[in-house]
């Protein structure tokens, strides 16, 4: 690109930023919605944990179990109810929602601990609300660890209590920290595809597109100038979502941040291409918005596995999910963020995503040419 073309591009991008920053509705969509979604999905789900009702079944009734139960009772997170329930009774209680978790001390707990230096505690949690289940379990584990540390300080003998954690109803904890990758896919799709398509259709509606086509601007410059601002805004949003996850929701990014951004850029480009595709067909901003919502937002919510596990869907729906770019992005983000995996674990998804993006770009270039002829 020579400097003259760069100057044209710059003038255009500057104009696009004026549009973005002057329209309150656009601003709200671009920055308000992502923040609200992260907060809604994250905070509301994970913050109501104080005073959770749990049941403690103490079959040991010895010094050790009493000591730990006292600590649990002292914690503000739990409201303890003591009862010697059978396994079936515990399940019934969990199912009815009366309790969130059950803690079971087996016979001879303290005896095992002081003679074998090793004992077990069973924890059964209701994982249908996976966020709460993990949080409660980790609170409890930290209380147990606390007890062990004190015991070590007193006796100088290292004793190990092994918590046997059992997550009922949702053993893989689908849903919990998974919402962040899901929201990322959703937000990027929203901003890139929907906002780009609206921005382009707006030019058509206003009649300014004609002027742009008559000008010496090359069509690819129009497309670049229309998409670059949203690419930048999307990356900014991505950074904001990640910062919020790390600092507000305590969800650490386990893998490479650079890889995450590179993969996100690929996904963003595919979303921008989708937005362009919609804008070529749509005649009004309303139509562009409806098309984006029906054909992009819904599949992103339903078919990526972020709200409902894909494995449980009918085969034909699973089939559709294979062409939804967000599905691959969601898997990629989960692998990088939550599992800390590297590129070798996600190259297949990356390849598919790159292929979809490539096809979309080719289709767009052809469509754009046809329209000009």
């Amino acid at each position: 690109m020579n400097t003259a073309v760069l100057k044209q591009l710059f003038a255009f991008i500057q104009k696009e930023f004026y549009h973005v920053f002057r329209d309150r509705k656009t601003l709200l969509m671009l920055f308000g919605v992502p923040i609200a979604q992260v907060l809604l999905f994250g905070f509301v789900l994970s913050n109501e944990i104080k005073g959770s009702r749990i049941v403690v079944c103490d079959y040991a009734k010895d010094y050790g179990s009493q000591e730990i139960i006292r600590k649990i009772e002292a914690s503000k997170y739990f409201k303890v109810q003591k009862a010697a329930l059978t396994h079936d009774q515990i399940e019934a209680e969990l199912r009815s929602g009366n309790i969130k978790m059950a803690v079971i001390f087996p016979d001879h707990f303290y005896n095992d601990l002081s003679h074998l230096n090793k004992a077990q505690i069973q924890i059964i949690a209701d994982a249908s609300d996976p966020n709460t289940a993990t949080t409660l379990t980790s609170y409890l584990t930290s209380i147990i660890n606390d007890y062990q540390a004190e015991a070590l300080a007193q006796t100088n003998v290292s004793q190990t209590i092994v918590p046997q954690v059992k997550m009922l109803y949702n053993p893989e904890l689908l849903g919990a920290p998974n919402f962040v990758p899901g929201v990322m896919a959703l937000v990027l799709m929203l901003i890139c595809a929907m906002m780009t398509s609206i921005a382009i259709v707006k030019e058509k509606e206003m009649g300014t597109m004609e002027i742009l086509l008559v000008s010496p601007l090359k069509p690819y410059l129009v497309i670049l100038a229309k998409t670059i601002p949203y690419l930048l805004v999307s990356l900014l949003n991505l950074a904001a979502i990640l910062l919020m996850s790390v600092y507000l929701l305590d969800l650490a990014i386990k893998g490479s941040v650079l890889l995450l951004f590179l993969e996100s850029t690929l996904f963003i480009i595919s979303c921008l291409a989708l937005g362009l595709w919609i804008s070529v067909g749509a005649e009004s901003q309303m139509a562009a918005m409806m098309t984006s919502q029906m054909s992009l937002m819904l599949p992103t919510m339903m078919l990526t596995g972020f709200m409902f596990p894909i494995e449980n869907m009918p085969i034909w729906m699973q089939g559709i999910s294979y062409i939804v770019p967000s599905r691959y992005y969601y898997t990629i983000v989960k692998a990088i963020m939550l599992q800390g995996l590297g590129f070798s674990a996600i190259w297949r998804e990356t390849l598919v995503l790159a292929f979809i993006t490539f096809v979309l770009i080719v289709v767009n270039i052809r469509k754009f040419k046809i329209r000009l002829a």
Binding site: A11, K15, G207, T208, I211, L212, V214, S215, P216
Partner: protein, 247 residues
């Protein structure tokens, strides 16, 4: 030949069986104000899109500013200005931002943008409104601003597609003063219009019926030829014979 701005010879555009533009032949002189009139659906817009480099003709030849419409669309685009019937400035940008944007995409330098922008504001008498959002200007001002922006890169030819739609008569008159001024500076104006009083202002007028040019001369000669007193009657006599329905 230097003083010919647009030349079309048997220019034709077909869409399948439909002949939108049927072998039209005409020429426009440099600096001339050329009226391109015709009923809706007569083929004006298609012809104009060809001349602007947006559409490739099926047959015939045409040059715009000396460039071939088949091979040199990019060169044509650099040498023309265009103003559409829809209002074509960005309402959420200020007057000066619109000027900067359009001048920028035509590749003017920063200094040129500054100088010509100031000159344009001065000529329209809206220097004080440079930082006003275009959306809050009265329609007449907007139209005049849109025209001035369309010629800010000093094109050889400016295409005006029904530029005065919805504008009151006084503003229309003022708008035509701007076209005359541009013409005096040597800019050719190619104007489509529905208003026959505006056709009277043009140097020469072509009347399109069913894709053909059925009449082509100065307004005075056309009136003489059809033995009537106004362009309105000329147009009416020609358009009555049209077979195509307006869409």
């Amino acid at each position: 030949m230097d003083n010919i701005a647009i030349k079309a010879d048997k220019l034709t555009k077909r869409f399948g069986d439909f002949v939108a533009v049927d072998a039209i032949t005409f020429d426009v002189k440099q600096g001339e104000i050329f009226g391109f009139v015709g009923a809706n659906g007569a083929g004006k817009t298609t012809a104009m899109r060809i001349l602007c480099g947006l559409s490739v003709p099926t047959s015939g030849t045409a040059t715009v500013a000396g460039f071939d419409v088949y091979k040199q669309a990019e060169e044509i685009k650099k040498n023309i200005g265009y103003m559409s019937q829809k209002f074509s400035l960005y309402e959420d940008l200020t007057v000066m931002e619109n000027i900067t944007f359009y001048a920028g995409i035509y590749g003017l330098s920063d200094k040129e943008i500054k100088d010509r922008g100031a000159e344009l504001l001065d000529r329209l008498g809206i220097t004080a409104e440079a930082k006003t959002f275009v959306g809050s200007l009265p329609l007449g001002w907007k139209q005049k601003l849109a025209f001035s922006v369309a010629v800010i890169h000093r094109p050889k030819i400016v295409f005006l597609d029904e530029p005065t739609g919805g504008v009151d008569p006084v503003t229309r008159r003022q708008f035509w003063d701007l076209i005359y001024e541009a013409s005096d500076r040597g800019i050719t104006a190619f104007v489509t219009t529905h208003y026959m009083d505006e056709a009277e202002y043009c140097g020469r007028v072509s009347v399109m019926v069913d894709g053909r040019i059925d009449a082509f001369d100065t307004p005075a000669n056309l009136k003489k030829q059809f033995s009537v007193n106004s362009m309105n009657e000329v147009f009416y006599q020609l358009a009555r014979g049209a077979k195509r329905k307006a869409d």
